[in-house]
């Protein structure tokens, strides 16, 4: 395999609380190569956003990295000072968050926020930065960018705000892009445009993209590989085609079955019964065992690590040999 651009090893994220420590991300390892898009999917609350936050150094206390290593182009970044991390963010890592409203400051115009970010990261004067900002807005598909640039965030629709956040994250052409639900608020046509932009950055700049999303259609079109998370752990990881069409882990299979498909009409959707365990009540053994129809003895007390399964790797005892 080529040298990875991002390497995450045995990552553990914890929340100390009055009633004990919650482990939200548990022994998670994966790599992303330059030019590669890794899709990250999984149950709501599985720890996808926290993993992203840990990588960009923005975990909110009391949340903390309790174990493991994160390397960017070979260099450890999980133990840097907040100051050093701030310099890396924006320049070498671009972050797109799940909530567009809170990543934009309501008191400043779109243009003021873009120009400020551009001035910090690129060697341009104010007028050039403004031109670049208009260009970026056009790139993410905002109509009439030269007028809308002077509007405030609340003047924009949900999807337009999200595109502004994307423009902000991409303005310094970062090496690693962590995108948390970048297209959830967007319709299919803008989605296609943003996906194309992310792919282009990966292809042309050799950037690595970590794409967290619930939208399996977006994953199918954008990602090279997919990681599936469940209860803070890696359930399955592998090439996108295999994970979608020949999932090996029982959770992944359930997930794929619950995707609504066009042309199925108004029937009840397939669902995985039950809910993901609370962080304070993760069962021993395989975290999926209470909902798994294939569980057997070993699943109840031994925890599986990812192992080769078909064309992917799955953390499931069905594949132990």
């Amino acid at each position: 395999m080529t040298e990875s651009l991002l390497s995450v090893r045995n990552l553990r994220v914890e929340f100390p609380t009055r009633r004990g420590t919650l482990v939200a991300v548990d022994d998670l390892s994966f790599d992303i190569a330059p030019g590669e898009v890794l899709g990250v999917v999984g149950e709501s609350g599985a720890g996808k956003s926290l993993t992203g936050m840990a990588i960009i150094g923005l975990l909110e206390p009391p949340g903390r990295i309790a174990a493991g290593e994160i390397r960017l182009e070979g260099e450890r970044i999980d133990n840097l000072s907040p100051e050093a991390m701030r310099r890396i963010r924006g320049k070498r890592i671009g972050a797109i968050f799940q909530d567009p409203l809170t990543s934009l400051n309501p008191l400043f115009t779109i243009g003021e926020q873009l120009v400020e970010t551009i001035l910090v990261h690129l060697d341009l004067n104010e007028a050039q930065a403004r031109d670049r900002a208009v260009e970026l807005l056009a790139e993410v598909g905002i109509p009439a960018p030269e007028i809308r640039i002077d509007n405030y965030p609340h003047h924009f629709s949900g999807g337009m705000r999200q595109r502004v956040v994307i423009a902000l994250a991409l303005c310094a052409r970062p090496r690693l892009i962590v995108a948390d639900e970048p297209t959830t608020a967007l319709d299919v046509s803008i989605q296609a445009q943003i996906i194309e932009l992310l792919r282009k950055l990966a292809r042309e700049n050799g950037a690595a993209v970590m794409l967290i999303t619930h939208d399996m259609g977006v994953i199918a079109e954008t990602a090279d590989r997919v990681a599936v998370m469940y209860a803070g752990r890696l359930a399955e990881i592998g090439p996108v085609k295999d994970v979608i069409h020949a999932p090996q882990h029982p959770y992944t299979s359930g997930l794929m079955r619950s995707i609504p498909k066009l042309g199925e009409g108004r029937e009840t959707l397939a669902q995985i019964d039950g809910a993901m365990p609370r962080l304070n009540a993760i069962p021993p053994g395989c975290a999926f065992n209470p909902r798994c129809l294939k569980r057997f003895d070993r699943c109840m007390h031994d925890r599986p690590s990812p192992m080769p399964a078909g064309a992917t790797e799955a953390a499931c005892w069905l594949y132990a040999r």
Partner: protein
């Protein structure tokens, strides 16, 4: 049972002022600018059905939702609920019978309140629980219904993931037993397995309680699953309304066809989805005539000058398109 109309929009419009700051306007001699976010939209929703609104980002879907629940005032037109005009003084009790689930689960939950208080608030406000014990029981029931645990009531919104917060806002919206729910992207923050649970739950509630939904979503596959009828919006205008099945199988309006062709392909058959041609024009300066004409393969001179009006076609569907109305294009 007769399909009685619960909600009706009549020629609804809403403008926004998006002028640059006063000083810039004066210095650069610029006029005020206004944006027609919703432009002459009329439709009705029958009791017990789900009408979905779809369309590209910025086409005015959330604005329609906010006009209905009274978060924005109308620039023109009327909205009738159960036959009564929502603008009439004394219509406040009507609004109590509707609730909204917001597109942005972050902004819509008060960060300083515990989840149990957030969910309980509408119950308390409407005096729906006889005592504290009944209130606690009802909150626990609601949290369980949306796939959370009663203990989660003790936590604050920031302690939840995006999808979990969206479930809190759904529990809150259901708490006052509304008849009509406006759902703005209710499941787009949820993973597909939780989405399936929530959509099944919403359908189940609809069947049991006879709820009526206005459902806004970008995801056409989701819309195909939940909607009885679908309205397609473009640049603030309604361009097609039809039964969900008819719309997806035989779209008439060229814009609807384009949207359906652009749905991401999960089969990865190698066929890349038909890219959507062109860009949405600026809503500040919509093209004359049919707003879709710069992107439409069927546009002609009439389309560039005369604005098409929504007309009912045989079979009960409505389309605002000259080519469809002239019979130049038929079913797919």
């Amino acid at each position: 049972m007769p399909a009685e109309t619960l909600l009706e929009l009549v020629d609804v419009g809403r403008e926004f002022d998006v002028s640059r700051p006063w000083l810039n306007r004066v210095l650069e001699g610029e006029p005020r600018r206004s944006l027609q976010a919703v432009d002459g939209v009329s439709f009705s929703i029958r009791r017990g059905e789900t009408l979905a609104l779809v369309g590209e980002s910025g086409c005015g879907k959330s604005t329609v939702a906010r006009l209905i629940v009274g978060l924005y005032t109308l620039s023109r037109g009327r909205i009738l609920f159960d036959g009564a005009d929502l603008a009439d003084p004394g219509s406040a009790p009507l609004r109590r019978r509707m609730q909204m689930i917001f597109q942005d689960p972050y902004a819509s939950l008060n960060p300083r309140w515990r989840v149990r208080d957030i969910v309980a608030e509408p119950i308390v406000a409407h005096g729906l629980a006889p005592d504290a014990k009944a209130l606690a029981a009802r909150v626990a029931e609601l949290l369980t219904q949306v796939g959370l645990a009663p203990e989660d009531g003790e936590r604050f919104p920031h302690e939840f993931s995006g999808g979990q917060r969206q479930r809190v806002s759904i529990a809150r919206a259901l708490s006052s037993n509304p008849e009509f729910l406006v759902c703005d992207e209710p499941t787009s923050a949820l993973d597909v397995s939780v989405q399936a649970q929530i959509l099944n739950l919403m359908k189940d509630l609809q069947q049991r309680l006879g709820l009526t939904y206005l459902f806004i979503s970008h995801n056409l596959a989701v819309v195909a699953h939940v909607a009885t009828r679908v309205g397609v919006m473009y640049l603030g205008r309604l361009v097609e309304v039809a039964d969900a099945k008819t719309l997806f199988e035989r779209p008439r309006h060229p814009y609807t066809r384009m949207l359906i062709d652009a749905i991401p392909d999960l089969e990865m058959s190698g066929k890349s989805r038909t890219p959507v041609a062109g860009e949405v024009p600026s809503p500040l300066t919509p093209p004359p005539g049919c707003a879709f004409n710069p992107r439409c393969p069927h546009a002609n001179e009439r389309c560039r000058t005369e604005r098409p009006v929504p007309l009912e076609l045989p079979g009960g569907r409505i389309a605002a398109c000259h080519a469809v109305q002239e019979g130049r294009i038929g079913d797919l």
